[in-house]
């Protein structure tokens, strides 16, 4: 076969699928492959890699800027409180009233400890902590199922005892997956940093949260399916929720 049409090589460099005859030629032709490689280097230097991860709500001032620039007077409803609260948008919290107040109460209670903790438990409707942990629940979150385990559900609570904080996780309909195990993680909002807190056996687990871990910084509770032998997060999450501040 003659060399590939140069236009086809350009499309291949962009990652388009090429016809079988072209693919077969490419496999055996160093010259055409070289052309694709050079153009693909151009494509690679223009495109950006964006790691997959969860949405992060921007602070309210971003919409203000959009509205100012477009002259649009309609306004979006405020994002659900607590979403996208990076260090800076925390300062914006006051701009969103309503449910933020409850979070403020929760935060205040965290500061005063056990009594407040119990109050928060009532306020936020938290359930009883797992049997192995005792102490007030200071934060609780429902874990929502991700597509890998669409039927599963779960909840996570932070239980404060005299000397430590425990993360109590209980799940249901998270089937056994032969050759794998479930691991519980605490992850930051940008999904860049994470702390493994332990392996979940069965439907319930109690994990000690290391003292050095700031839950404000690592508020996302995540359960992943892991393969033995690789300590990194597999990228295969099954349940996830974000602890309220």
């Amino acid at each position: 076969m003659p060399h590939c049409d140069p236009e086809v090589l350009g499309l291949a460099a962009l990652g388009e699928r090429v016809a079988e005859a072209d693919a077969a030629h490419l496999a055996g032709c160093a010259r055409c492959r070289q052309d694709v490689a050079e153009l693909a280097a151009v494509v690679g230097a223009v495109r950006v890699d964006v790691p997959a991860g969860p949405p992060v709500e921007p602070p309210a001032r971003v919409w203000d800027a959009v509205a100012a620039a477009t002259g649009v007077s309609a306004a979006p409803r405020a994002p659900a409180a607590g979403s996208g609260r990076d260090a800076r948008s925390v300062r914006d919290a006051g701009r969103w009233a309503g449910r933020r107040v409850l979070l403020a109460v929760a935060a205040a209670c965290l500061a005063v400890g056990a009594v407040g903790g119990a109050l928060v438990t009532r306020l936020v409707g938290g359930g009883a902590p797992g049997p192995a942990a005792s102490g007030p629940v200071v934060a609780r979150v429902s874990l929502a199922a991700l597509p890998l385990a669409a039927d599963a559900s779960g909840a996570a609570s932070v239980v404060r005892s005299a000397s430590a904080r425990d993360l109590v996780v209980d799940v249901s309909r998270l089937g056994a997956r032969p050759g794998t195990f479930y691991e519980v993680w605490l992850i930051d909002r940008s999904v860049q940093r994470m702390v493994p807190v332990g392996i979940l056996r069965g439907s319930e687990g109690v994990f000690t949260i290391p003292d050095s871990v700031d839950l404000g910084q690592y508020p996302v509770v995540d359960i992943s399916v892991q393969l033995p032998g690789d300590p990194r997060h597999s990228g295969r999450s099954v349940l996830r929720g974000t602890l309220p501040a």
């Binding site: 151009v42 964006v50 701009r95 449910r99 295969r236």
Partner: protein
Amino acid sequence: MSGRSAGAGPGAAVSVGYAGASGPARHVPGEVAMRPDPTAPGRPDVAPARGGPWDGGPSDGGPSDGDVAARFAAGDERALALAYERWAGLVHGMALRALGSADEAEDVTQQVFVSAWTGRHGYRPVAGPLAAWLVGIARHRIADAFARRQRERRLAEAAGAVALPAVTPDPHADDRVVLFDELARVGQPQRGIMELAFFHDLTHEQIAERTGLPLGTVKSHIRRTLVRLRARLEVDGAAL
């Protein structure tokens, strides 16, 4: 601004934090070409729309995504607000992860919605979901931000300042500056074609369909522009 579900009971307050992680997420076909980061947990960006008290997403009523897209294209201001409500988190999350800087990510998120709105005539609902289109614009703006960052860095260095390493270093920083400079010199319709191919990950057939240009024209513009960019890189590339 009122809360998403004002009047929700205290129970909702527990889980509001979750809404940021998956509330507005929905399947975005245009995003499938994003290379998955092996360390990124889960793929909540492709999670199905979820209902429930902690979601605040589509379950609380409002027009469908398709309605929002159609109204957006038609210039309904309310649709811009709705699109922002649903997808600002998606766009901002991308920008934040890619750039690692809250300031730059906020700029990008703002630019994406402003240019989506001002350029809404270029969006056709039948060609794909609005979210996918926004993601394409976001990838373009993120790449722009990387190029701008590198240009500023060079200026600072030229002025004798010591530039701190970027939070998220761009492995292609130098080539990117050169290529974006060259792309800016490319006329239309070539530049628009390349932007659709680079950032929106459209195939040449999809680009032809969207632009109304003949398939052969699109293919030859792509080839010629890539060759032009390669030539510029050979002259001014990483050797700089």
